[in-house]
């Protein structure tokens, strides 16, 4: 558990008892964020009293206009940078000495963030190497991970030899190679073209379904969030906090037909309205 400067204490049992957050299915909580604020040293208040409870197996999209603090929230959830006040906890993870979850978080940045001097294999190897996983065991897991994103034949390629979409796949393989409980994705496909993006959306969805990983996905695309998520958290700016929290009923099988279906269109409509509301709310209050 990581605490900010306020003297609030986080009682896990307390949160579990709260009806809104405990979840109907009573699934385990993976992340609890309570009244988190983040003030940057330049005076920007990125988040103000944001609370979010994430249950195991959810696919959550953090959706909002730029500047609403969704990336900041994701970084705090990852343990990168402590909140200025409020508490963040990972109730079902082993917490290490630094107060961070150990080995349970995979992160995919907006850029692929690969080491240009290392080939694809070594890039995916990194999290395991840092954790001291023996070479033989690591090798199998890396090849398995590369196969899962369709890059088995590119293990010896260097990042600069790959297309943007392929680099992103390497980044996803790297995030998944530690078999994390929580996969955090920070606008991962924003810089990709539409076709590649849709393909990678399907890949992420498949990984989520096959591995049962909990995903928190930051995006500013209504369509992407409506396609992927089991829950969409719409955020507003000034101050950055949760504006509305939408549970989405999704069919297990989502494909090209689903993208043109009335259900999908309807979901997009609801999400879009919520996003408009969030943008409007930020405009009316100075």
């Amino acid at each position: 558990m990581r605490e900010g400067f306020s003297n609030q204490v986080c009682y896990v049992t307390d949160i579990l008892a709260a009806p809104a957050e405990a979840g109907i299915a009573g699934r385990r909580l993976v992340v609890t964020m309570r009244d988190v604020s983040k003030l940057f040293s330049n005076g920007t208040l990125a988040l103000k009293d944001m609370s979010l409870y994430v249950k195991a197996g959810e696919f959550i999209s953090l959706l909002g206009p730029s500047g609403c603090g969704k990336s900041t929230a994701l970084r705090i959830i990852a343990g990168l940078g402590a909140p200025s006040s409020g508490t963040i906890d990972w109730p079902s993870s082993k917490i290490n000495k630094k107060g961070l979850p150990e080995g349970d978080v995979g992160f995919v940045f907006q850029d692929p963030t690969l080491m240009p001097w290392a080939d694809v294999f070594d890039n995916v190897h990194l999290p395991l190497k840092l954790r001291g996983v023996p070479k033989g065991e690591a090798r199998d897991r890396i090849m398995e991970g590369l196969a899962a994103v369709g890059l088995k034949d590119f293990a010896k390629s260097y990042p600069r030899e790959l297309s943007g979409g392929m680099k992103m796949r390497v980044s996803i393989a790297r995030a998944m190679v530690t078999k994390p409980k929580l996969l955090l994705m920070d606008e991962p496909f924003a810089a990709l073209d539409e076709i590649t993006r849709q393909k990678l959306n399907d890949d992420v969805l498949r990984l989520w379904q096959e591995h049962g990983v909990t995903v928190i996905f930051v995006t500013h695309s209504v369509y992407e969030s409506a396609y992927l998520s089991s829950r969409i958290v719409v955020m507003r700016a000034r101050p950055g906090q949760v504006f509305s929290d939408l549970e989405i009923e999704q069919p297990a099988e989502r494909d090209r037909d689903y993208r043109t279906s009335e259900t999908y269109r309807h979901t997009c409509q609801i999400v879009s309205d919520a996003l408009q509301g969030a943008i409007h709310a930020a405009e009316v209050r100075p």
């Binding site: 990852a78 343990g79 990168l80 150990e102 080491m115 030899e161 392929m166 076709i195 590649t196």
Partner: protein
Amino acid sequence: MTDAVETNREAGTDAAAGVLLPKMPRREKLLQVIVPVVALVIGIIIWHLAVTINQVPRYILPGPADVWDALWNDSATLWPALLVTVRITFVALAIALIGGAGLAILLVQSRILELALFPYAVILQVTPMIAIAPLLLIYAPDTQTALLICAFIVAFFPVLSNMAQGLKSVDHNLLNLFELYGANSWQTLIYLKIPSSMPYFMAGLRIAGGLSLIAAVVAEFAAGSAGQGSGLAFRLLESQYRLNIPRLFVALLMLCGTGIAIFGLTSFVSWLVLHRWHESAIRREN
């Protein structure tokens, strides 16, 4: 037709296969060798003609043939001298590389140390080395050591400043990634900071390589040491005093050759390390 469209859609733009490094056409390669060689030969012919037609005396400007003869006749004197100069150059360069890179690593680890050593670094860097040479000749146990120290001081700073800059220019996202995976500072240094600063280090190496030869020669001029075991720079001065201009030319040619060899060697090392990933070592193709 429909099949082709289908595969295309399936693959998306993502299926662009690994881009292989483009091979240079043979004509281009041949051109790269022939043009410089022909230009050099023309230069030598013009030199020869200018000397013979104008009947310039040998002690003012020897022709290429005289220099060629001197190369064979004086080799017993000049080769050992060249060896002395080359040894000073390479030992100084090696110490500069180890010392410069090592100190840069220390500096970026500790802010206090960096601030404390900064004035010394600036003082040593801006003082013309030749001005310290007389002092060094007094303090050093022998002339060779003094020359070595001179060459070292000159070659040291490009390595230090480039390496320090490189260590500070690590991609912030990659630093975040390492933090996220719980890397300790040792792992971050070995797996991230050092590889990522290699392009900067290589730039330092190439500058330092040239400078260490220049410094070795200049320091020898300053020392003016005669007799057994003196370097090529002294032989050069000596030839001038004796008006043995062909020998002076040979000494010059040898220094020039050494410079070229150092340039080639450092460029090759740089290429070896960087050619798989860094932009500087890859041909641009549009």
